[in-house]
């Protein structure tokens, strides 16, 4: 069933149910009111009848008859019966009793008043005390007018119900069509988007309703899809470009060497050139391999308890040797008293690579300006903050920095392949940690790494 028909059906069913309930209540209360009114009438007539017949000495019967004929008139099927009644000496004749509804007389005697309905005839009974004795006055009649009114009301309600059902169906259909037309439009627009025209976007509309929210969600998804498509094609482009550059250099130098005979010194210089390019190629291939290994696969990884402060000191030493001009300041002022808070469960070699890459980037992109490394711990996690005063990352490129080979638009003149940070990111993720980068162009970058400590990691596993 189409959503449009489903909506209409639900709408019609709900309205019909509500209407049925309302109409049933109207009819029920109307019938109750009519019956009550008719019993009241019978009661009044029974009282008048009793007074007239039993108090003839006190009232003129002719006057009563006249009043009755002119003003009160007789009701359809009206019967008035007065039985003399004496509890001890003159019990009621069983023949009379059998003509009345069962238990009716007993009820009159008990309550001094009773009313009941048998078929379409209404009965009212009174227990009347007089100076001549006790009497039972029973009055019965049929409420033809009341029944007529109720039948009429029922007819009106049934007609109203069916007419409103048709109107509701039409209205519901119109509403469903109107409500779902934007969805049909979206379906149409989405169908038009394929891998070749991923730049197309849906019309988000001006209103702030669910439909425009859906369009915005679709557009966000398309943005992500487009980015990942771009990144994928960029990765292949960048990788082949990076691999080709050293190869071209090597081939060029070999060609120069083979061109003609040269003195030994120039061969040595050419071979040195080839060696440096081959080393570059080696670094690149190793990096790629490591990236592939850490691709969210931590099976078979050697996990040991590691003191992060020691790792950081060692990395600082390593960087000091390679780049003596660095200004890395390790700030261990806020270390916890309990050394257990400084220990994380992880692979030392990988964590060293991650911290080294980030620290190296911080020095590289800030032209060896001051880099602050702060280590602190709370009950569950270890926080490592690395802040530099470097060139920063443009805001629109922040989302791509974890992709291999991506290089910031403002980092063209700085040496690198663009997989230091992606590798660090993956290593931190493997250790169930978080890596967050806050950066502003020209102001610097803050890299925050949060890794669960040994206690937390053990609890988790």
């Amino acid at each position: 069933m189409k959503l449009r028909n489903k909506l209409t059906l639900v709408f019609v069913l709900l309205t019909a149910m509500l209407q049925l309930l309302a109409f049933f209540l109207i009819f029920h209360f109307a019938r109750q009111y009519t019956e009550k009114e008719f019993y009241l009438r019978l009661h009044q007539r029974a009282t008048i009848a009793a007074q007239t017949f039993l108090e003839e000495d006190e009232m003129n019967i002719d006057i009563y008859e006249e009043i009755r004929n002119i003003h009160l008139q007789t009701l359809p099927g009206e019967k008035e019966v007065i039985y003399p009644f004496d509890m001890q000496d003159n019990p009621l004749d069983p023949k009379i009793k059998s003509k009345l509804p069962e238990g009716f007389i007993e009820k009159i005697i008990r309550n001094e008043y009773a009313e009941t309905k048998v078929g379409d005839t209404y009965y009212t009974g009174l227990f009347y005390h007089d100076n001549e004795g006790d009497f039972i006055v029973v009055l019965s009649a049929r409420d033809l007018y009341g029944v007529g009114k109720l039948v009429n009301l029922r007819k009106i309600l049934v007609i109203c119900f069916f007419v409103s059902l048709i109107i509701t169906w039409l209205l519901g259909r119109y509403l469903a069509l109107h409500a779902l037309s934007p969805i049909s439009k979206i379906v149409h627009q989405v169908n038009a988007i394929s891998a070749t025209n991923l730049h197309l976007r849906l019309d988000e509309g001006k209103s702030n309703d669910e439909i425009s929210e859906l369009a915005v969600t679709f557009n966000n998804m398309l943005d992500r899809l487009e980015t990942s498509f771009e990144l994928q094609s960029n990765f292949v482009n960048n990788a082949s470009h990076e691999l080709r550059n050293p190869l071209t250099a090597i081939l060029g130098q070999i060609e120069v060497a083979l061109n003609k005979e040269r003195p030994a010194a120039s061969y040595i210089s050419l071979l040195k050139g080839i060696e440096s390019e081959a080393l570059r190629l080696d670094t690149l291939v190793n990096g790629l391999l490591r990236l592939a290994q850490t691709d969210y696969d931590n099976k078979g990884l050697l996990v040991t308890p590691i003191r992060v402060d020691e790792v950081l000191v060692e990395i600082k030493k390593g960087i000091n040797t390679a780049n003596p001009e660095n200004q890395i300041h390790l700030d261990f002022k806020d270390l916890p008293e309990n050394e257990c808070g400084l220990i994380v469960m992880g692979n030392r070699q990988l964590l060293e690579v991650a911290f080294h890459n980030i620290l190296d980037n911080a020095c590289k992109f800030s032209d060896n300006q001051e880099v602050k490394v702060r280590l602190l711990a709370n009950a569950d996690h270890l926080h490592i903050l690395i802040s530099d005063k470097g060139i920063g990352i443009p805001p629109n490129e922040l989302k791509s920095i974890y992709e291999p080979f991506f290089r910031g638009s403002n980092a063209r003149g700085i040496e690198g392949f663009g997989f230091g940070l992606p590798l660090a990111y993956r290593i931190v993720k493997m250790h169930h940690g978080q890596l967050r980068v806050t950066s502003q162009v020209g102001k610097g970058t803050i890299v925050k790494i949060i890794i669960p400590n040994q206690e937390k990691a053990t609890k988790k596993s």
């Binding site: 966000n220 702060r374 903050l385 920063g392 805001p395 490129e397 922040l398 806050t438 502003q440």
Partner: protein
Amino acid sequence: MKKILIPTDFSPESLQLVEFALLNYKETPLDVVLVHGYRLPEIYWEVLNFSARREIQRLSNPEFHKTRQALLLEHKAEIHSIRMELFTGNNSISFHNFVTQLDISDALVPSENFLYYPDRRSFDPTQLIRKSVKEVHEISLNGKVREVRKPQFSLLNFFW
């Protein structure tokens, strides 16, 4: 010591702006004032019983406070305090008074619609900050994607 005003929607993500403040004010320790626009209730009884502390508690979640505490811990030397204020006025003059009273001359705002105000009484004070504070740093958060679900009332919810 520098007092700096930052708009907030009491979400942990909004506290990223505090980190940007650290990048922009490197040399001085900061007193951060997070401001959230809030319309006072119309009912007299509710106004009498209004408590800014209580409203802040209601609008913020434990995750926000956890992130705030973490920030204070991580940047002990740079951040002196992070306090939260509700701005209950409705025009730039009252905001100007608010800023003067707090003795603030610097502010940091996101240049795009980064903050999200789901409460019907809340509003974004960014425009007022731009008008009333002398030194305003615009932070572009282009790369940050925030996926927020808007709790919207809809008749369609009755059907499914």
